[in-house]
Amino acid sequence: MSVHIGNAENAPSFPRAARAALINTQLRTNVRNATNIIQAKRNNMTGELPDWEELREAGHAIKNHTLKYLDLYLEQFEANVTRAGGMVHWATDADEANQIIGNIIADCTGKEIIKVKTMTSNEIRLNDYLENSGITPHETDLADLIVQLGNEDPSHIVVPALHINRTQIRDIFQKKIPLHELGIDNLTDDPQQLAEAARLYLRHKFLTVDIGFSGANFAIADTGAVVVVESEGNGRMCLTLPDVLITLLGIEKIVPTFRDLEVFLQSLPRSATGERMNPYNSIWTGVTPADGPSEFHVILLDNGRTSVLANGEGREALNCIRCGACLNVCPVYHQTGGIAYGSVYQGPIGAIVTPQLQNLEHSRSLPYASSLCGACYDVCPVKINIPEILIFLRGEIIRDEQRTLLGKFQLENIAMQAMALVFSSSGLMTTAEALAKFAQGPLVHDGIINRLPGMLSGWTNSRDLAPMPRKSFRDWWFQREKDKDQ
C-alpha cells in the first residue's frame, strides 16, 4: 500500500511555504476578507440556535461511535448499496482508487466526466490520472472551475478559490472560456456576470456528458444512501443527469442511520458557509428506475485512514465533516492562506489529518503550524480537540526523531534534555537562573529578547523571548518563607 495525499510528500515545509505566502499582500488581503465574512456569518448562524452545544455534543458522540464500529457500518452500507442496485468497490490507496475509476470509465463510451466538488478526488490526484489516460474531467463547482481553469491550487476545503479575487477570476475566464461562442462580450468582474458565464459554459456539459463523478458528505449505513450538500445545483446536475455515476468516499464518511442526518444537516451548513441550510442537499440510494443514473459505483477509500484510526490519540481527526470553520478562525491560516500547507486539507484540521494519513512520514512541519490558541476546537461542529492532537503529534514526531542518532544529537534535543534535567532539580534550577540573569544582559532590547546568538537563534527565529525577571517567583517565594519564620 502506498499512501499519497495530493502532492503533500513533495511539498516544501510549512515555514518555507509560509514565507512565500506572507509577502504576497494580494493573497493575504483576499484571504482575510473572505475568512472574516464567513466567520461572521457562521457566528450568527450558530448563535441563533439555543441547542448548538448539544448538536456539537451529539455530532461528536455519533462520530466516535461510528469509528468504534466502522467495520460493521461499512459492511452494512455495502450490503444496502448492493441491494439497491449499486456497485461497491474498495481501494486501499490512491493508486488503486484511480485504477478502479479508470476501469469503470473505460467501459463507458464517453471520454469526458462532469465532477462535483470533491476534496477526496484531489487527495488521489484523480484529474491528473484521468488526463494521462485521455479522459477530460470537468470541474463544475464554480470555485473548482476557477481553480482548474487557472491552474491554481485549492486554498480552502470549502471555498477553494478564496484566495482569488473577482478581477483575477475575470482574467482566468477571458483566457480559458470561449466567451464569444457563448454570446458573452465585455465580461466585467461583477460576480453576477461571472457566475452567468460559468452557467452558460457548463450548461452544455451537463446536458451532454454521460458520466458523473462525486464525493460525498455522508454515507448512511442503514439505508446505503449517499448525501451531497452543495449550493449551486451543479451537484444535482452531476448526480442526476448522466447515465453512469461514480462516487468516491473516504471510509470515515459513514454515519450509522438516516436519523443521524438530523444532527449533521444542522451543524454542517451553519459551520461551513453560515447558512441555515445549504441551497441543495441530494440524498440517493443505489439506482432508482426511471430517475437518475442507471449505473452507480461507490469506491470506499482507505488511503491512510486506517493508520489514523490506529492512532489512539489522533484518531478523532477522522470525525471531521469538512466544514472549514477551523480554517476561517485560525490566526495562522489568516496570515498564510491555505496553499502554504502543501496539502488538499489545509488549516488546523489539515495539520492533523495530512501528516497522520501519511503515517507521519511526510508533512511533519504541519503540527507546528499553530499557536495552539484553541479557537479551532471552540468552533468545531463535532468537537475535535485539534490543539490536543497537534501536541500529541508534535510529541510523536520528537519521539520518532529521538530514535535516530542524528536526532538524538540535534541541538534542540540536547537543549530540551538539559532543560528537563535542570527543571527536575532545585539546586540546578537556582544556579541556572542566576547564570541566565547574568548572561542575558546584552541580549535584552526594549524589554524582550528577539535574537539569541549562535546555535540558540533557532528558538528566537519565530518567537520573542521574555527576559528573566530581576526577581524570579522562586526568589520571591524563598524570601516570603524566610520572612514568615522571623
Binding site: 468504534k68 464500529y69 464554480l142 452557467r199 430517475d291
Partner: protein
C-alpha cells in the same frame, strides 16, 4: 483485487480498534447507538400560525416567493404563471389534472429528453414537506413530484405545498421522512446560489433560478 482490498481494509480497521470479526458485536453496536447523547431540540414549540409565518420569512430570505391559495388551486396556478409569464410547463404524470388551468401548455414528463426539459419554461410539482426554521422544501421521487431531472433542468419551479406539511425543525423533518428514506430526496432552500466569488452571494447558478411556492 477489490475483494482482497476489502478484506485488508476491514482487517486493518479491526486491528486498529482491537476487535475480532464477531457477529455478537452487532447487537452491542445497536444498543450503544440508541444510548448516544441527543439533548438537542427534537420538537419545535411554535403554533401553526407562527410556524407558517417563520416559513414565509425564511423562504423570502432565500429569494423564494410564497403565494397563498384562495381555495381554487387551478386559478391560483393560472395567476402565478401569468404573473411570471410562463407558458410551457413540465408536469409529473401524477399531478392532479384538475389543478391545471387551461390556456397553458402542460407537458407530462413521459421520459422527456434532457433537451426537451431544457426547452420548457418551467415545471410544476407537489412536494413532501417544508422546514420553517431553515426555509427548506423537500422533494421525493414520486408520481406527483416527478423525477429529479424534471425539477432541476427547467429554469422556473412552481412548487405546491400543503400548510399542514410544514414542520418547524430539521429533526422533525428527518423523522417524517423515515418511511420514504430509500427514495431519492432533494432538499432545497431557495433557488441556487454561490458565494465562491469573494463571498458575495450570487443568486442563480445551475438550478432553477426562480422558485415560487403555492401554499394550499
Amino acid at each position: 483485487m477489490s475483494a482482497e482490498s476489502r478484506a485488508a481494509i476491514l482487517a486493518r480497521i479491526r486491528r486498529a480498534n482491537g476487535v475480532a470479526d464477531n457477529p455478537a458485536r452487532v447487537s452491542q453496536q445497536q444498543h450503544e447507538w440508541s444510548l448516544l447523547s441527543r439533548a438537542y431540540r427534537a420538537r419545535g414549540n411554535l403554533d401553526d400560525a407562527q410556524r407558517l409565518k417563520l416559513f414565509d420569512e425564511r423562504i423570502r430570505h432565500y429569494n423564494g416567493t410564497p403565494f397563498y391559495s384562495t381555495g381554487n388551486i387551478q386559478s391560483d396556478i393560472a395567476n402565478i404563471l401569468t404573473e411570471r409569464g410562463k407558458q410551457t410547463l413540465i408536469v409529473p404524470a401524477g399531478l392532479p389534472s384538475e389543478w391545471l388551468p387551461e390556456d397553458f401548455d402542460f407537458v407530462p414528463d413521459n421520459n422527456l429528453s434532457k433537451q426537451q426539459l431544457d426547452a420548457a419554461d418551467g415545471v410544476v410539482t407537489e412536494c413532501t414537506l417544508g422546514i420553517a426554521l431553515t426555509g427548506t422544501v423537500v422533494l421525493e421521487s414520486s408520481p406527483t413530484q416527478g423525477r429529479r431531472a424534471a425539477t432541476l433542468i427547467p429554469d422556473y419551479h412552481l412548487c405546491i405545498l400543503r400548510k399542514g406539511d410544514i414542520v418547524e425543525l430539521v429533526p422533525e423533518a428527518i423523522r417524517r421522512l423515515e418511511s420514504i428514506k430509500g427514495r431519492p430526496l432533494t432538499f432545497f432552500s431557495g433557488p441556487s446560489a454561490t458565494v465562491d466569488i469573494e463571498m458575495t452571494r450570487v443568486r442563480g447558478v445551475h438550478g432553477p433560478r426562480t422558485l415560487d411556492i403555492l401554499l394550499i
